[in-house]
Amino acid sequence: MPVIDEAAAGRIFREESGRSVAALIRVFGDIDVAEDAVQEAFAVALRTWPGSGLPPNPGGWITTTARRRAIDRLRRESRERELLSEAAVLAPGGYDDCGMSEEAGPVLDDRLRLIFTCCHPALSTEAQVALTLRLLGGLSTVEVARSFLVAEATMAQRLVRAKHKIKAARIPYRVPEDHELPDRLPPVLAVVYLVYNAELTGPAERGLCSEAIRLARILATLMPDEPEVDGLLALLLLTESRRASRRRPDGSLVLLGEQDRRLWDGALIEEGQAIVRRCLRRDRPGPYQLQAAINAVHADAATFEQTDWSQIVALYDQLLAVAPTPVVALNRAIAIAIGEVQGPCAALALVDELDLDNYHPFHATRADLLQRLGRNSEAAAAYERAAALAPTDAERDFLRLGGRASR
């Protein structure tokens, strides 16, 4: 019998709670009822699992226990009739006690419905990300608040407001139809990407990266015809493959050129590159696919110097055409400079045209280019500006070091 402690139970809960919450929302048509019931089921799990051992299907156990709790609670509060009639409207197919059983045929995953509900365009971007983390990622309000760097009370209020709007305005719990997907998919992909980056750029490790990859995998399985979904998954896998080499022990970022490639995860690279190749065959490129392709080219190179820079610049040209943002332009200029496609002088001219004064990588890039051109005092000033804008102490220290070294 597998031994189970509180930490292991917590991990299982995080993995399974999104599915359970989503299933219960389908049955009961009420987010709060679903969330409370799943929380209660988890509390029961914490009490019983350490003694009885892990059930064969922990996710199913939580869902079943939560469903029973929810029915008990609805009966107790004698709101059953009212809520069940609401549930019948929200959940086509209606309510029945067997609603949780494995359904036959190609059934859309409840989590897919839930992510489209969380990312409905009628909700603010912040609410979209927060709700996704809370309902699908199984993060507590405290954890969601921490990843946004806001007070718990603020986040609690934001979540309550978003859930109230879903209920009052009747934001539907459904997957948009094919003709609606072009408009409705981008916020979903953006939220999954934000969830990933919330950890990557945030001050601490919080398991958000694996959560985002899990969500992207669900989307890719359930929407095999959408190349951008594949593109996002490949991008996340290839980014994730470099995790072990990305930070120094003090937490500061290691730039791509200085990363120890032996630490890159070969299995993730292989999986990501296979998806990129599939995308190329489809030839319907979008921003996520192109960013994935850029990362795939980096992953191909044995050393930084051996990178196929002309291909990277060509991909950035394409990316700039579909997503003309200053950050993309900056990265394109960096590729041009590093690959010596045109050299640092031309790259600096490109960079100086960009309006990114509050973006610390902009100043770090300028600093690096100025240093290569031997304009050391200007480089030092740019490092200082980058350091002043950097989000973490470790990065600030690193950039200040760069500034001193160039003097």
Partner: protein, 119 residues
């Protein structure tokens, strides 16, 4: 089903792209078609266009007496120009109607659920 208020907002003093007579007629015709569609599909409950805010009168309690004054209640540049009350399955259905109307008249529309109307 839920009842929604689709309120059409106009911004005082804001130069909207001027409509030619022909465009105006086209817009009118389009609105007529949409309203007909709302009615035939059972979505239309009530609708109305309002006179300009300078025709408004405010009635309020002041020192225990009812006071009647000139002017709109809110001192804002945005005013309600007209509205629809519709019945819709969910927010997506309501937004679909609002999208048709905003395309026809090129003015922003706020979609808001009525409290206590959920069937």
């Amino acid at each position: 089903m839920t009842h929604y208020l689709l309120s059409v907002h106009s911004v005082e003093g804001e130069a909207r792209p001027p409509m030619t007579d022909e465009e105006m007629q086209q817009s009118h015709k389009q609105v007529g078609i949409i309203e007909q569609e709302m009615k035939s599909l059972g979505a239309w409950v009530f609708s109305g266009r309002l006179h300009a805010p300078d025709t408004a009168t405010v009635v309020r309690m002041s020192d225990g007496k009812v006071l009647t004054t000139d002017g709109p209640f809110a001192e804002s540049r945005e005013h309600l120009g007209g509205f629809y009350i519709i019945e819709a399955e969910d927010l997506d259905a309501a937004v679909a109607w609002a999208s048709k109307v905003t395309e026809a008249i090129n003015a922003p529309i706020e979609v808001r659920p009525f409290a206590g109307f959920a069937a």
